[in-house]
């Protein structure tokens, strides 16, 4: 995200002009823009004009509008953010109070005006504008008969391709069928790999699978690259890492992000940190269940007793929430930080965030055991 102009008071009103530059930025914008804020951007609108003769004429006009946000939609695949609301900027074509939907795309600047820039909003803004934190990683997860390609960004994991075929097992003569089916499968995966993995963008490509499918495919990949002179692969051979995962399903992404070889590449990024924190939480839950809790009620109680060491939250909780709820969570985060704890806000677009969202979206590792939490209704 490129910040063009900043003009705000912390915990006060103000506006920021920014330009999203990669797909992650739209996600940040999605988390930043709340109902009630106003967004100004250049947009295109179809305008009906009445001629003197009485005939009507429709025309697409490019104009600048500012809307009071009522609804916001994120299209992950299309890379578009749609903001619906009432116009508040007088214009010769659009009256005040008319509805309009702004489409925010990459490289289109917009101005976001908020009544209150709270600490969380500023945090998001800071993160979004930090260019060093990018962690673009292409992950190919496979198991025999199933392959999926993911792009792991700073805060968004997008699924790019999914290839599923049935591969016969070995039953006497069917062994020939096995070989050809496996070859066909690899062919398809290779096509998808070439199409979706751009080594100019990603730092490295990870191939993960249980068993030896990854080695088999890696060998096939290099062989085909030699045969067909696939420059991008030959030149970036060293950027391809093999990682052992427990399955080919999406939730095995955590095995990938957890692997030491990958960890080195993306060390300080949010994605890796999230995986680590969540793992800590799970470890605590299995080793000392009284020192870990989840669910808003439990965490709240724990916080009242100043027991929260690490707070885990999904960004989901802030989004589309009404002001008091958001306020509540912002206060929770501030109070945890105030009492010396840490707060991690997980992106629900990552697998770890997805996992946390399954656990009600809020969890905490505690300083000291609170066995009586068990008795409180969730």
């Amino acid at each position: 995200m490129k910040i063009v102009r900043k003009d705000y008071l912390p915990d006060g009103p103000g506006s920021v002009k920014m330009t999203p530059v990669d797909s992650d930025d739209l996600w940040f914008a999605y988390n930043l823009i709340l109902p009630g804020d106003s967004v100004m951007a250049v947009t295109v609108r179809k305008v009906l004009r009445e001629m003197a003769s009485g005939s009507r004429d429709a025309e697409r006009v490019k104009l600048k509008l500012e809307v009071r946000v009522e609804g916001i939609e994120y299209d992950k695949e299309g890379g578009v953010l749609r903001i619906r609301g009432k116009n508040i900027l007088e214009n010769e074509h659009v009256k005040i109070g008319q509805f309009h939907t702004l489409e925010l795309e990459l490289h289109r600047p917009f101005v976001l005006r908020k009544q209150v820039w709270d600490s969380l909003a500023l945090e998001v803004l800071k993160q979004a504008s930090d260019p060093t934190a990018s962690a673009d990683l292409a992950v190919l997860l496979m198991q025999e008969g199933l392959a999926q390609i993911f792009l792991v960004g700073r805060s968004v994991t997008t699924s790019r391709a999914r290839i599923e075929t049935s591969i016969p097992r070995k039953h006497g003569p069917a062994i020939a069928g096995y070989d050809s089916a496996l070859n066909k499968f690899f062919q398809n995966v290779l096509q998808a790999f070439l199409k979706h993995v751009d080594f100019n963008v990603v730092r490295c490509a990870v191939i993960g699978s249980p068993g030896f499918t990854k080695d088999q495919f890696h060998r096939y990949l290099l062989l085909e690259a030699e045969k067909k002179e696939l420059r991008p692969i030959i030149e970036n051979k060293s950027k391809i890492i093999l990682v052992h995962t427990s399955s080919g399903y999406k939730h095995s992404l955590r095995d990938v992000l957890d692997a030491p070889s990958v960890m080195n590449m993306i060390k300080d990024t949010k994605a890796a940190e999230e995986v680590r924190v969540l793992k800590d939480f799970y470890d605590m839950l299995s080793n000392d269940p009284d020192r870990a809790c989840y669910g808003p009620k439990h965490v709240e109680v724990a916080n009242e007793r100043l027991a929260v060491q690490t707070l885990l939250l999904t960004d989901d909780l802030f989004r589309n929430a009404d002001v008091p709820t958001r306020r509540k969570y912002v206060d929770l985060v501030t109070s945890v930080k105030g009492s010396g704890g840490k707060a991690h806000i997980f992106s629900t677009m990552h697998s770890s965030g997805e996992q946390l969202a399954q656990l009600t979206g809020i969890a905490a590792i505690l300083r000291f055991p609170l066995p009586d939490l068990e008795d409180i209704e969730m």
Partner: protein, 673 residues
């Protein structure tokens, strides 16, 4: 006037046609009538048919919705076809009242109507004639008795032979209240002692009215019939072929010698020719792995040979004195446990191979790293009760009795905790490499000095033949699929869980719901005419779209009794010991059931159960820890073919895995969606 939802297409498949036959038979025995009359009322109590306009009204209505005719005085409308005779019964008042108070009158009614029924039977035969022609691959009705391959034949045959006995039963047990009690509870495992076959036939008739209910009802029907007749149907089978099929899984920790043991067995029993064996030996030597020669008989893929481990379940066949044995040689490496699950779930019994050498047994038995425990538990969760523990590599430890005893004591305690009965476990010390105690008594003096028990081949024969559901509608989970585009056919392979198959039969492949025709059957690469429950066969299907995904994990079933396809299930599970991470609401898991697997999550932990009594000890707990039993809800990302455990055991056994380990095993108690 049938309602669209509640009436399926009538008279277009085999089950209907034989029902009609049964019906005729039943008419000869007037004693049956009380039971007959009662049945449909219980089954189809939701609707009653108006006598004037035949509109199906809701149970709660006392007056017809369309024409306003009062409901009660309709109990005798037989104008309609045979189908309608079933319908008339639910227009009697509330079924419950009927059972207790009107029994007498309804009985009279039916007998009074008998003449009319018989009249309508003539139309039935006409219908049946049409049916048979429609169902082209079926022989005409008269030959049903001969065709032991199909369930239909089986039923009419039984009917003929046993109807006398049945009528006795019926009169003896014509306590309709008793029947009603069991009927009301559709998913109960129906004991059916008192259930008479004619009665259940009526169940079937009303069932064809309500396709939605078919699964629960039909299993009941077949269970009840099965209790009367399995032998009758089996007899022709026995005469032709004295051996029953036994699916024997070979499991154990990696490198314990499973494939080598299987290869050696096959070699000793002459299933591998000298020439082949020579080739394996030569190839193995070239790769510098001469000790793997026997394993190569089963590990066929270059990957497996190169790495010297089994990756996929290999299938091999041999005959023992009592059985056609199908060996399922499983991979032992922890990464391939999913393959092991999908391959070995067919097992009726298992050989657990233990590496006796020092350190190797301990490594395999180690809870967090070894696979011995995991495999044993999984095998148990597939429903295997009989286990042969083959303590392999005894040559390495000098056939020491102490070592053997140590292993027996350590494992014995563990098996007890898994729920294996001690009497069902056989312990056999052997050495696959030195050929000790495999197909003949040991020759090595060190082993002879203390071991007096059976050798492995003997032990296989001493296994009890597993019970089979011959008389249920066809169910066959697909283990493997090969497509041949040149011939336009799909070969699917698997073990028949219930029912029977022969070429020419129409079957439905779930979850796609496509109907295809069986072109041929193969067993052990030999074509065979008929396959029954328990057999491991390959069937070549025609008429299935090749581009359509027939995948392992699907189920081949009877077109009238499709298996349920669901993604929201209630399970009763037991968490395994030494869970790395407790199971929480929202935990992401891989779900395995028969040959299917899917990613999913634990949607809710409903309650924790006491492992001994099965009573609920805690509601909606925060998490599920090691060794706890619980009722949980699971939501899957992709739907799978599944049955409730009470209906079909093989399709109701599931296991949950996460992070490369099996975390829980259990059964499906309810299909939610």
């Amino acid at each position: 006037m049938p309602r669209k939802v509640n009436r399926g297409v009538d008279y277009d498949e085999a089950y209907d046609s034989y029902d009609d036959y049964d019906y005729e038979d039943d008419n000869d025995y007037s004693v049956d009538s009380p039971a007959k009359v009662e049945e449909p009322q219980q089954k189809v109590k939701k609707l009653w048919s108006c006598s004037i306009c035949t509109y199906d009204n809701e149970e709660g209505m006392s007056v017809c919705d369309i024409c306003g005719v009062i409901r009660n005085p309709v109990a005798g409308d037989f104008k309609n076809s045979n189908k309608k005779t079933a319908a008339f019964k639910f227009d009697a008042p509330s079924p419950d009242d009927m059972v207790s108070t009107r029994l007498q009158s309804s009985k009279l009614n039916t007998q009074g109507k008998r003449g009319k029924q018989n009249a309508s039977n003539s139309t039935d035969t006409a219908v049946n004639g049409k049916l048979d022609s429609k169902y082209s691959d079926r022989p005409p009705a008269e030959t049903f008795h001969g065709s032991s391959g199909s369930i239909e034949g089986h039923n009419s045959l039984k009917k003929g032979i046993l109807s006398g006995q049945l009528s006795d039963e019926a009169s003896g047990s014509s306590n309709p209240l008793k029947i009603e009690g069991t009927q009301g509870n559709a998913d109960d495992d129906f004991s059916g002692q008192k259930q008479t076959a004619p009665a259940s036939n009526f169940g079937k008739m009303s069932l064809s009215d309500k396709p939605g209910n078919s699964n629960a009802l039909d299993s009941r029907k077949h269970k009840s019939t099965a209790e009367y007749h399995p032998d009758k149907w089996m007899l022709p089978d026995k005469a032709n072929d004295t051996l029953t099929q036994l699916n024997l899984a070979i499991v154990g920790h990696v490198d314990s010698g499973k494939s080598t043991l299987s290869g050696r067995l096959l070699h000793l029993l002459g299933r591998i020719t000298k020439k082949e064996m020579h080739k394996y030996e030569k190839d193995a030597k070239i790769q510098g792995k001469s000790s793997f020669a026997y394993a190569w008989a089963l590990d066929e893929s270059p990957e497996e040979r190169e790495r010297g481990i089994t990756m996929n379940v290999a299938v091999a066949y041999f005959n023992s004195k009592k059985y056609h044995v199908v060996i399922l040689d499983s991979p032992g490496h922890k990464d391939f446990v999913p393959n092991m699950i999908s391959g070995a779930t067919q097992a009726d019994a298992a050989i657990l191979v233990i590496d006796a050498s020092n350190g190797a047994f301990e490594a395999g038995f180690d809870g967090s790293k070894g696979q011995t425990r995991e495999h044993a538990l999984l095998i148990r969760s597939f429903g295997v009760e009989q286990l042969i523990v083959a303590v392999n590599k005894m040559d390495v430890v000098g056939y020491s009795k102490d070592r053997f005893d140590l292993i027996v004591t350590q494992l014995g305690t563990f098996f007890r905790s898994c729920g294996f009965k001690e009497s069902c476990i056989l312990w056999i010390p052997l050495s696959a490499v030195e050929n000790q105690n495999l197909v003949a008594a040991p020759s090595d003096a060190r082993l002879l000095s203390w071991y007096r028990g059976p050798y492995l081949f003997d032990a296989i024969d001493s296994l009890q033949p597993p019970a089979r559901d011959f008389a249920k509608p066809l169910l066959m989970p697909i283990c493997d699929v090969t497509k041949s585009s040149s011939q336009g056919q799909v070969s699917v392979c698997g073990k028949l869980v219930a029912g029977a198959l022969r070429s020419g039969l129409k079957v439905m492949v779930m979850p796609s719901g496509e109907v295809g025709t069986i072109k041929s059957l193969e067993r052990d690469s030999q074509s065979s005419a008929v396959a029954r429950a328990g057999d491991n066969v390959t069937i070549n299907l025609q008429g299935i779209d090749l581009s359509n995904n027939v995948m392992p994990g699907g189920v081949v079933c009877h077109p009238d009794y499709p298996v349920a396809v669901a993604r929201h299930l209630e399970l009763k599970v037991r968490a395994l010991e030494e869970l790395a991470v407790p199971i929480l609401n929202g935990s992401q898991v891989e779900f395995h059931i028969h040959h299917a697997q899917a990613a999913g999550k634990v949607a809710k932990i409903l309650s924790i159960l006491d492992p001994k009594s099965g009573k609920e000890t805690k509601r909606s707990p925060r998490c599920l820890l090691s060794k706890q039993s619980a009722v949980i809800e699971v939501v899957l990302n992709t739907p799978v073919c599944v049955e409730e455990y009470s209906n079909c055991r093989a399709l109701g056994r599931a296991s949950l895995r996460a992070m490369g380990r099996t975390i829980a095993i259990g059964i499906v108690t309810r299909i939610i969606q």
